[in-house]
């Protein structure tokens, strides 16, 4: 089953997104990697690396990241992954909360890394609010 890593500058956002996703798909391995080492707003590459390692399986891992520096931290880590993990950990161009929920559902039904990625990235195009005019 594809694993999920949620990176946010806020530990609360990462944990919260993780909780919401697990409610839909309790069997999926999801790592919440939010906040800096002091628990404040920021990112912690060591936490992210540990998260990826914790949820990694042969089916691969989808990473969700909130803002630019979270993406940069993730990319840096992806560059230095062990050879057997290279190419199997992908950052989704998707919003964190909705992306995590969609990814968890797709992963829970046994879809491939490519299918989970595509679904998560499709979230950005979904309209949440119908407005007249």
């Amino acid at each position: 089953m594809v694993g999920i890593v949620i990176i946010s500058h806020s530990s609360k956002v990462a944990e919260g997104a993780c909780e919401i996703a697990l409610q839909m798909a309790p069997e999926v391995a999801i790592a919440a990697c939010g906040g800096n080492k002091e628990g404040g707003i920021g990112t912690d590459p060591d936490k992210i690396t540990a998260g990826i390692e914790n949820v990694f399986s042969e089916e691969g891992v989808i990473v969700l990241a909130d803002l630019g520096s979270a993406v940069m931290s993730a990319e840096l880590i992806l560059d230095s992954l062990a050879p057997e993990m290279q190419g199997k950990v992908i950052i989704a161009n998707a919003p964190v909360v909705e992306g995590a929920v969609v990814a968890a559902i797709e992963a829970s039904i046994g879809n491939s890394l490519a299918e989970v990625l595509s679904a998560a990235e499709g979230v950005a195009g979904m309209r949440k609010v119908e407005r007249e005019g």
Partner: protein
Amino acid sequence: MSRICDKAKVLQIIREIAKNVIANKDYLTELDTKIGDADHGISMNRGFEAVLAKLPEVEDKCVGTIFKTVGMTLVSTVGGASGPLYGTAFMYAGNQVTGKEALNLEDAIKMINAALDGILKRGKANPGDKTMVDTLHPVVEFLNSVKAEGLEGKDCAEVFKQAEEVARQGMESTKPMMAIKGRASFLKERSIGHLDPGAVSSYLVIKTIAEELQNEV
């Protein structure tokens, strides 16, 4: 023959870079408060305090390992965008001088080229986006033009004194720019009229190197 910078001097330069960044913590934070998330000074301070603590462990290693350790320490402790950016810069620079126990001008130019390559790869900013690239890109162009003239007889200290001025102008050029990258880009036009914090901190790095090379100690 360009001067050789021995390991003791290299370590001194790194320490002074750390101290200058730490000393400017409030100024960098103030700049980042205007057009960012108000943590550049705090984050860089955290990273460079960790670097100062880590340096004694690698003083006997080659210069390449020292720079790579600085880079990895910054990645691990800074906590913001500057971590991956400065961290990659120092790591790429270190890769250019694996096994070396001293540096000459040619090494320094290779290292700064590699540092910028790392920053561009990691952050994907272009010149004009209002980032640290606007300080460092002109410095790399200047150093490469010096190298093209031939390094024989060039004085390290004099070259870096000129590089500092290039860096200063690069930093100042960010003031009227509208941010295209980073947290400041969310502010759009409101980012105009303020110096970019990353452009300032990277100017401080070049300035420190220039000052230390002028100190014959």
